[in-house]
């Protein structure tokens, strides 16, 4: 059972919940321990970093608009690509997912707030400092990290102080993520409303429970890896220095032991959001709820035994290559179960195409394409040809942008009426979807062709033969970037006013948050609802 019908909920009396005693002005946001405020802070932070990382992406595409060096020296170009990756992963996508979790988990499980409200505040307020370190590293002598978001030694051992900034930023963001995960797991395990068993929980909460476990498992590993990098740089250790008996390839193993599950840390909350949107706008319960939970769990566990598929060109033993190749292909099975279940939910449903559903369907198309190119890359002989080409760039942008980001956009439109108390402007939201969908494909589809033709990634200049598709790709990237102005307009318009949203703006919504008024009172579920 994926949802809680309203007539099965008792004790949702909010008459006494309206006492919104909280500081006002800036102090409200600095000192807040309220999950809704902190969720809002996370989401705005994520949007800000999305803009910063997006501007970097557009600068990268401007440089690649035509062959030759236009804007950057090669070093600066590498700094842009590296920071773009780090900012988008750690600054935009992860905090965005945590923002949704903060807002929605307590509302969906009938909890009054997160389990550790003060720690929640702290885990958010660490982030702006980490982001400042990361972006600020552009302006220190030697510039920012140039080795890509993967931070491979020996380059990162040799680099200037920008690398130290990046290491500390990752430490801080990692600490924030771990605190956030502890909070989410504890909230879900201990503060669910009476009667809400785990298998009655909305799938968004399940997705986050599993994601939080993944974070607890891998963020300390990344923190350990970058700590060893730091001691190699400044304290004479040689973990990754071949001259001192260390092994640079070992860093790749440790990094991808974190890095591959990280992909799922980013995509699982998106799966959760999509699993809320599709049943609502299909007006049917989610098909195969239990199998969705098992598929999420299988994806999470399998994500830990495939990391070396990122390292097929490092000289792994044949048996190892075969293992990682087949294990990677195996992930397609639970992922396929999920896609099948979403489609089966839509089958013969009374589907309407409001903006959240459009983004969910866009997600289904494009994420599946990203998944297929991932399958192609899992085949070792092909991967060796495509290693470090634009084919890989196309693949992971189909997963990260069209997958996670589209789900976040859909989720934002889905819950905006609940968050703000106003309906968003459907015309702007639909325009946002169509422009994003078209320009995304214009930007990233040609990268498959560039990769197939052998264009390497992370270079500021390229051979004349790649010029045409690069120009198309850059035009698409500018269009996609500018389309996001519509999201900003839609959100701001919705916050400032508009048509009043009812408690349940979507007739197909069945989870607990729709039993609350829109916007919900500052304190909700002080008396836990009873789920029958």
């Amino acid at each position: 059972m994926s949802s809680v019908p309203h007539n099965d909920v008792a004790g949702t009396d909010h008459a006494h919940d309206d006492h919104a005693h909280h500081p006002t002005g800036i102090m409200r946001w600095i000192t807040t321990t309220n999950h809704k405020d902190i969720g809002t802070l996370y989401l705005w932070f994520s949007f800000t970093m999305f803009i910063v990382g997006g501007i970097m992406a557009m600068l990268i595409r401007a440089e690649l608009f035509e062959p030759g060096l236009q804007i950057f020296e090669p070093e600066r170009f590498n700094q842009m690509t590296s920071l773009h990756g780090l900012i988008m992963v750690f600054g935009a996508l992860m905090p965005g997912a945590v923002g949704f979790a903060n807002w929605m988990i307590p509302l969906q499980i009938g909890a009054p707030d997160m389990a550790f409200a003060r720690m929640n505040n702290w885990s958010f307020w660490l982030l702006p400092f980490a982001a400042t370190l990361l972006v600020g590293s552009l302006f220190v002598p030697g510039g920012a990290v140039e080795a890509g978001w993967t931070l491979y030694p020996p380059l990162t051992v040799q680099q200037g102080m920008g690398m130290d900034f990046a290491i500390f930023a990752i430490h801080i963001m990692g600490a924030s993520s771990i605190m956030g995960s502890i909070n989410i797991i504890t909230t879900i395990l201990n503060l669910r409303a009476p009667g809400m068993t785990l298998m009655k929980m909305p799938l968004f909460c399940w997705a986050w429970l599993i994601t939080a476990y993944l974070l607890i498992a891998v963020m300390p590993v990344l923190a350990g890896a970058v700590t060893m990098l730091l001691t190699d740089r400044h304290f004479g250790t040689t973990f990754f220095d071949a001259a001192g008996g260390g092994d640079p390839v070992l860093f790749q193993h440790v990094f991808w032991f974190f890095g591959h599950p990280e992909v799922y840390i980013i995509i699982l909350p998106a799966f959760g959001i999509i699993s809320e949107i599709i049943p609502t706008f299909s007006r049917k319960p989610l098909f195969g709820y239990a199998s969705m939970v098992y598929a999420l769990s299988a994806i999470a566990i399998l994500s830990f035994i495939v990391w070396a598929h990122h390292m097929f060109t490092t000289g792994l033993p044949t048996a190892g290559i075969l293992f990682y190749m087949y294990a990677t292909m195996l992930i397609a099975v639970p992922t396929g179960v999920k896609v099948f279940n979403w489609l089966a939910t839509m089958w013969r449903g009374s589907i309407t195409l409001e903006a959240p559903m459009l983004f969910a369907i866009g997600f289904l198309f494009l994420f599946t394409m990203g998944g297929f190119t991932g399958l192609v890359l899992s085949i070792m002989p092909i991967d060796i040809q495509f290693q470090d080409t634009y084919y890989v760039v196309a693949h992971f942008h189909y997963v990260m942008v069209a997958g996670t980001l589209f789900a976040f956009f859909g989720g934002a439109y889905y819950w905006l009426p609940k968050w703000t108390g106003h309906m968003y402007d459907e015309k702007i939201a639909k325009l946002h979807f169509w422009l994003s969908f078209i320009f995304f494909n214009v930007a990233f589809f040609p990268m498959h062709f560039l990769g197939l033709a052998g264009m390497p990634r992370r270079i500021p200049d390229y051979a004349q033969q790649f010029a045409d598709w690069n120009m198309v790709s850059s035009i698409g990237a500018f269009g996609f970037g500018l389309s996001q102005i519509l999201l900003f307009i839609a959100v701001v318009k919705c916050i400032r006013g508009g048509e009043k949203a009812p408690a349940k703006p979507w007739e197909g919504g069945t989870t607990l948050e729709w039993t609350l008024p829109s916007p919900p009172p500052y304190h909700t579920f002080e008396t836990p609802p009873v789920v029958k």
């Binding site: 504890t186 201990n190 068993t197 298998m199 476990y213 999470a300």
Partner: protein, 61 residues
């Protein structure tokens, strides 16, 4: 929040924080015990077991 819920939260939080600390220290310390490959095997197995147990016990409920 009720006292029993508060103490249950603290217990869960403390266990999870300890696991995170052990993984952080483990990935560094195991390098001193043996080769890098062995270190990764030890910490990798520990992490995988943690996940299987943590997620698996919820699936059984």
């Amino acid at each position: 929040m009720q006292a029993d819920k508060r103490s249950a939260n603290l217990k869960t939080g403390a266990i999870l924080a300890t696991i995170a600390l052990v993984f952080f220290a483990g990935v560094i310390v195991t390098h001193y015990f043996s080769s890098g490959t062995a270190a990764l095997t030890v910490i990798g197995t520990a992490v995988l077991l943690f996940l299987i147990v943590a997620i698996g016990r919820h699936l059984r409920k």
